[in-house]
């Protein structure tokens, strides 16, 4: 993952956000992090990105499902319906392990669905592994249209 990829984290729980950010950093990910505390904030941000004609930033979204105002599933649906923004990889990071929710999110096009472990040590380990995994991925730039 390039250093200029911005990691968007939609997480209303202050404690969870702090844990995610800290433990991603511990895996060597020093990328800029942008936090959103409800689904509407994410949609507003994405709308501002989509409307800018020349924007070459690469983003990745860690998305909780239970969020105030607009839930994560709706955010995912809107994002994947946008021609420009749909290429943003979305990792669902949530407390729900309902198979219907898992099914729905993969149908809508999430990249990965990960249930947050309840236990502290496991949560930390999960974030560590996400961080190490992300460090080997290539994340696309958005808003440049077709490079070809």
């Amino acid at each position: 993952m390039n250093h200029d990829v911005v990691i968007l984290i939609a997480e209303d729980d202050e404690g969870h956000f702090a844990l995610i950010k800290k433990n991603l950093a511990r895996t060597g990910i020093t990328n800029e992090v942008a936090r959103f505390t409800d689904g509407q904030e994410v949609l507003d941000f994405l709308a501002s990105q989509s409307s800018k004609p020349v924007k070459s930033k690469a983003c990745l979204l860690l998305l909780d499902i239970r969020l105030p105002k607009v839930d994560g599933t709706t955010v995912l649906e809107r994002l994947k319906a946008d021609d420009l923004l749909k290429r943003i990889p979305v990792i669902m990071l949530t407390t729900t392990d309902d198979p219907r929710e898992v099914d729905r999110c993969h149908e809508l096009g999430c990249s990965m669905y990960i249930v947050k472990p309840v236990e502290y040590e496991n949560f930390v380990e999960t974030i560590r592994r996400i961080g190490l995994f992300l460090s080997i991925t290539s994340i696309p730039e958005i808003g440049k249209g077709d490079l070809e």
Partner: protein, 156 residues
Amino acid sequence: MHDETVILIAEDDAGHFALVKKNLWRMCATTSFMHFRNGQEVLDFLFMRGDGPVITPNAAYLLLLDIRMPKVDGIEVLRQIKADPELRKIPVMMLTTTSDPAEVQRCYDMGCSFYIVKPSIYSDFMAAVEHIGELLCLPGVQVPQINLPSTGDNPT
């Protein structure tokens, strides 16, 4: 990831396949793997064509997909999977030697989950596969079950 999830590996290079399988196996010892040598074999499996093995209803799959493969390339395999209303739920990770940004963009536009460039240095390649395995074998990683593909373009 649950033990019953099957990891499909589409890779024509036997050496790369051995490496990927060995390192994933170390991380997710209870998971089963299937190997496909070209894109056609993957499509035959998923769309239940030909005489080879075919998908099991209600099983969960995840696909590691090379791009440069004989017969049908990875891009076409990705396109067909993501065009099917049922099979599109399968997470597809591109694992390839090509780092061309246009190719990266195209694969994400088509719905790949992640795009990973195979490192050319042996130890880096091993570490990369280890990171993939460490993520996938987390108990929290949920992969959906797949019903039979609802494809209408099956010529048979």
